[in-house]
Amino acid sequence: MARVLADATVGTARAAAVVSVRLFAGAAEATGVRVHRMSIEDGATVDVAFDRMVEEFPALAALKSSLKFAVNQEFVEMDQRLSDGDEMAVIPPVSGG
């Protein structure tokens, strides 16, 4: 999926960004994945990137309302844009302490 998209991106001359997405706790368990490298249009939002993740890992859909997101270890809103090399994190409700 990501690969097809990357190729399409190149085809339309838009720059591609490779983003690594990290998943934790319930999100990691639901998907069976802890790190997922994804190719996406440069400047795509976290929202778009998460939708791509859901296409690949449908179990994430049920969790969406409880999740927060971080980019490069800072919490961000869903409209945050992503650049090549960014680390995006899917953050379930925290429960440390």
């Binding site: 990290r22 934790f24 706790a25 319930g26 368990e29 969790l63 309302s65 409880s66 971080a70 270890q73 919490f75 994190a89 953050i91 379930p92 409700p93 925290v94 429960s95 440390g96 302490g97």
Partner: protein, 146 residues
């Protein structure tokens, strides 16, 4: 007379953390030990496991320490979180805050644990007789109380 912020596996070194928050200019030192309880919402907990997004968790803890320095002038602070398997009754998080006066020491300590629980990407999984759950993310969507 120092700051310690870290995430550890295995038992927390309380002595080291306390020493960081101590200083001859500090008349008050407030600490908090959070430990794993043997029950949760009426169910018996057999074991616990903590997971962290380690670099971000440390960064957020440093941020909390910065806020505490700005809010109350408290620089002598230790914040240590244990991850991995934590036996029931053992300490999962330890905070120590030292200040010339006790009000600031208490405020800093309380703020540290409250904010840590809200913002630091660490997750706790509880194992019961009949299942397991990541606290805060239950099927019903409820969030943990404290």
């Amino acid at each position: 007379m120092a700051r310690i912020v870290k995430i550890v596996e295995g038992q927390i070194d309380f002595h080291e953390a306390l020493e960081a928050a101590r200083s001859p200019r500090n008349g008050g030192l407030a600490t908090f030990y959070g430990s794993t309880r043997d029950n949760s919402e009426g169910k018996s907990v057999h074991r616990l496991f903590y997971e962290a997004y380690k670099p971000m968790a440390v960064a957020k803890m440093e941020e909390i320490a910065d806020q505490i320095r700005e809010k109350w002038g408290v620089e002598d602070i230790a914040m240590v979180h244990r991850i991995g398997e934590v036996p029931i009754g053992e300490v999962s998080v330890f905070i120590a805050a030292g200040s010339p006066h006790r009000v600031e020491a208490f405020s800093a300590c309380r703020f540290a644990i409250d904010t840590l629980k809200e913002t630091v990407p660490i997750w706790k999984k509880e194992f019961f007789d009949d299942g397991e759950v990541w606290v805060g993310q239950t099927p019903s969507g409820r969030e943990s109380g404290d």
